[in-house]
């Protein structure tokens, strides 16, 4: 793979309605950040929005949802 990874990065938006306490935020961010191909993960507690900057060829959006689920929260990919 000679292609620069930055060219492949996309931002996938997940939404979770389950976040019920701010302490879950670092937990989810850390779990997502540990995935291969994920450059950055940001969890917004107030709105339940999860922004993930990642390489979709390495880590698919479905994997992101699975990861959030393993951290204890249900989420779904959202168009905006």
């Amino acid at each position: 793979m000679t292609v620069h990874t930055t060219d492949r990065l996309v931002t996938t938006l997940l939404r979770s309605q389950e976040l019920s306490c701010p302490s879950c935020v670092p937990k989810i961010e850390k779990a997502l950040g540990a995935l291969p191909g994920v450059e950055q993960a940001k969890v917004h507690f107030n709105t339940g929005r999860i922004e993930v900057r990642h390489d979709p060829t390495v880590t698919e959006p479905e994997t992101l949802v699975d990861t959030v689920r393993r951290a204890g929260y249900e989420s779904a990919v959202s168009a905006y």
Binding site: Q17, H44, G72
Partner: protein, 700 residues
């Protein structure tokens, strides 16, 4: 098997089943002890219940601990484990079970609070019908290509931002603007994704799809606003950061001094800061969401808190208080012009007909002494108890009582004499594109179509001269009258001066060499301006200040009409800035409403900047602290009210949280509160805080 897997892998499902299982075991334990009188199963059943519910809490506590976060779950886990160790099986089971039930209820209720924006998400349709390669096909809304033609049938939601190509429909734009009255859209007009087309078929050229729509931008901005922490929230988070460790410390101290493990563990349980950490975010999410539904974008907790403190509002005049375009508001007649005027002027008059009032005007305008009769329509309207024409819908909104708007009567019925003057001027103006001509032409067109003059000369900066069926019409200013040797006597001079004093732009009308009247044009106040100012005063804005570059008379006229407290006219942009600083120096929390570039410095200096009519303008949405999607001034007062309600809500939540924790801690130290009861009250306080926040969403 697969259903079991779902129950285990889906965290929500798993948690629900763990909670239900734990509850079942507790019920079984109670049954065996009190129903069957058997003590032997009590301990094991309660322990199993505690382990079932506690496993999920412990896992979460561990996950938080790994990222160096002392979570509420950790407090509960320590307490429950400790209770099991000292043989308090019932307490351990009750605490873990209640915590799980509470967490489930919290998640459910938070979902409703966050749901304020769901209406917006759901507003955008998933599918669009596009015209592609000559046939219509259904595609996902985000797959429409910019420039493609989208078909919208009556009753359907518009899937993209675009421009109407053909068709017409009444479009319900309430999702975008919060305005419940549908707007008529026809060819060339912009439409927004998420709005609903009623009673008409539209063909739309897509200009923005998916994330590049006004709706998506609004959702994004609102969410960013909800995520931006308010100062109060930041304070709470700093507080919570040392609160949890200090509760652990307090429990340890309590154990060291009293050697009472039960007391120490109870302290851990009731010390949970759940209600506290959630008190401000809940209010802010609900408040900003509530405002967004009303077409008000408040750009974050900081601005939400600021808006509630506004005590002075600075407004520009043009386009904010006024309609931003001139209207014909007064006609000053030269005496005798209309003597013996026939009725039915203009009815059915077509091009080329012999106009019935020509003769009248001719006789009227001859040698009679010209005496200006100033007819101040507004004054006479008020004196005579004149009621606005019902056909003007603006009066239904604005009202026009004695203290109401008196400048919105462009539709006021002019007397036959006045109509003659208007019509003469309009015949000349119809051929010209001058902005001051348009309101004259519009007024005249109410009486029927206008003939085209035989000849028309424009005199730049002065006016027009036209020939129509052998008559000479001269319309313009004093210099134009001088040029054509038309005399202005003392009466006309007085009329001119009086019109100017009231902020009108006077237009002289002369027919066949003699002045027949003066038309007074003015930018009129919006019907909503006066009620808006009154509403602002009720909302606690003590000083509504007009800052305008316009001339003093025009500004004063509008200010008097709408009830402005302070007027500063003929200002340069930097002088507007000085006034903002002066108001701030006088102790006011100043908000500024503006749109133009010339307002930019003053907007930047104001404590809160407000943009109006932002639906079509991304810049306004992006830069202002508060963006009103419509240009309805009443929304400013509404924004202030929502902000105040949110601030109040936040304070109530803090009080609920602090009083509960304080009372529980005191109760524990006095030996009155036990672990299970403490957990129950704690969870109830969390729900009370969320429920109180949701109230904001329900306000009308």
């Amino acid at each position: 098997m697969s259903r079991l897997m779902i129950r285990l892998t889906n965290p929500v499902q798993r948690r629900l089943w763990l909670t239900a299982g734990s509850g079942g075991l507790i019920a079984l334990a109670l049954l065996t002890r009190y129903g069957l009188g058997s003590q032997s199963l009590w301990g094991p059943l309660m322990t199993a219940a505690a382990l079932l519910a506690g496993s999920d809490i412990a896992v979460r506590a561990w996950n938080s601990l790994r990222v160096r976060h002392l979570s509420i779950e950790l407090l509960v886990t320590i307490a429950a484990a400790g209770a099991l160790v000292i043989g308090e099986h019932w307490e351990a089971a009750a605490v873990t079970f209640l915590f799980m039930v509470g967490a489930w209820l919290e998640a459910r209720t938070m979902r409703h609070t966050r749901g304020a924006l769901r209406e917006l998400f759901e507003a955008a349709p998933a599918q669009a019908t596009v015209l592609r390669d000559g046939s219509t096909i259904e595609v996902p809304a985000h797959a429409v290509l910019p420039g493609e033609i989208v078909l919208v049938r009556p009753g359907e939601k518009i899937p993209v931002d675009g421009e109407v190509l053909t068709g017409a429909a009444a479009v319900d734009e309430s999702t975008i603007t919060g305005e419940p009255i549908p707007v008529e859209k026809a060819s060339g007009e912009p439409v927004y994704a998420g709005t609903i087309a009623h009673n008409g078929m539209l063909q739309i050229k897509a200009t923005g799809v998916g994330a590049d729509t006004t709706l998506a931008r609004i959702i994004r901005r609102v969410e960013e606003a909800q995520e931006e922490r308010a100062p109060t929230q930041r304070m709470i988070e700093r507080f919570a950061a040392w609160y949890t460790p200090s509760i652990i410390g307090l429990a340890v101290l309590a154990f060291l001094f009293t050697r009472d493990m039960h007391l120490a563990l109870t302290l851990l349980v009731v010390g949970c800061p759940g209600a506290l950490v959630i008190s401000t975010p809940v209010s802010i999410v609900a408040g900003i969401g509530r405002a967004a539904r009303a077409g008000i974008l408040i750009k974050g907790g900081q601005h939400l808190e600021n808006a509630g403190r506004i005590t002075a509002l600075a407004v520009d005049k043009t386009g904010t208080l006024t309609e931003g375009r001139p209207r014909l508001v007064e006609v000053v007649l030269a005496r005798g012009v209309g003597a013996g005027t026939v009725t039915g002027v203009g009815a059915g008059v077509g091009t080329g007909d012999t106009l019935p009032w020509l003769d009248v005007a001719e006789t009227g305008a001859v040698e009679e002494e010209l005496v200006a009769v100033v007819e101040e329509t507004s004054a006479s309207a008020l004196d005579s108890g004149w009621t606005p024409p019902l056909s003007d819908p603006s009066f239904e909104i604005g009202g026009a009582g004695p203290d109401g708007v008196d400048e919105t009567w462009a539709d006021a019925r002019w007397s036959p004499e006045e109509r003659e003057v208007i019509r003469w001027a309009a015949i000349a103006e119809a051929g010209s594109g001058h902005p001051l001509g348009r309101p004259i032409v519009e007024s005249a067109l109410e009486d029927g179509p206008l003939p085209t003059p035989d000849q028309l000369d424009e005199h730049a900066g002065m006016g027009l001269r036209a020939n129509h069926e052998g008559r000479e019409i001269v319309v313009g200013n004093r210099r134009l009258m001088d040029r054509f040797g038309i005399e202005l006597d003392a009466g006309i001079d007085a009329g001119l001066a009086e019109l100017r004093a009231r902020g009108r732009t006077p237009v002289l009308v002369a027919v066949d060499g003699a002045v027949s009247g003066i038309l007074g044009l003015a930018d009129t106040a919006r019907p909503s301006a006066a009620p808006m100012v009154a509403q602002l005063h009720r909302s606690g804005v003590r000083n509504v200040v007009m800052l305008t570059g316009d001339d003093r008379a025009a500004a004063g006229a509008i200010a008097a009409t709408v009830g402005i407290d302070e007027v500063h006219a003929e200002l340069l942009p930097e002088q507007k800035l000085e006034h903002i600083r002066r108001l701030q120096g006088a102790g006011y929390h100043v908000a500024m409403v503006g749109d133009g570039i010339n307002d930019a410095p003053a907007l930047a200096a104001a404590d809160t900047s407000i943009a109006m009519g932002a639906a079509g303008s991304d810049i306004a949405i992006e830069t202002a602290d508060i963006a009103l999607l419509t240009d309805d001034l009443g929304k400013i007062a509404e924004a202030i009210d929502i902000s105040r309600a949110t601030l109040g809500n936040m304070r109530q939540n803090l009080v609920i949280a602090l009083v509960t924790v304080g009372a529980l801690l005191t109760g524990v130290l006095m030996g009155r509160v036990h672990m299970a009861g403490g957990m129950l009250i704690h969870q109830l306080s969390v729900l009370a805080v969320i429920g109180n926040g949701m109230r904001l969403g329900w306000r009308k």
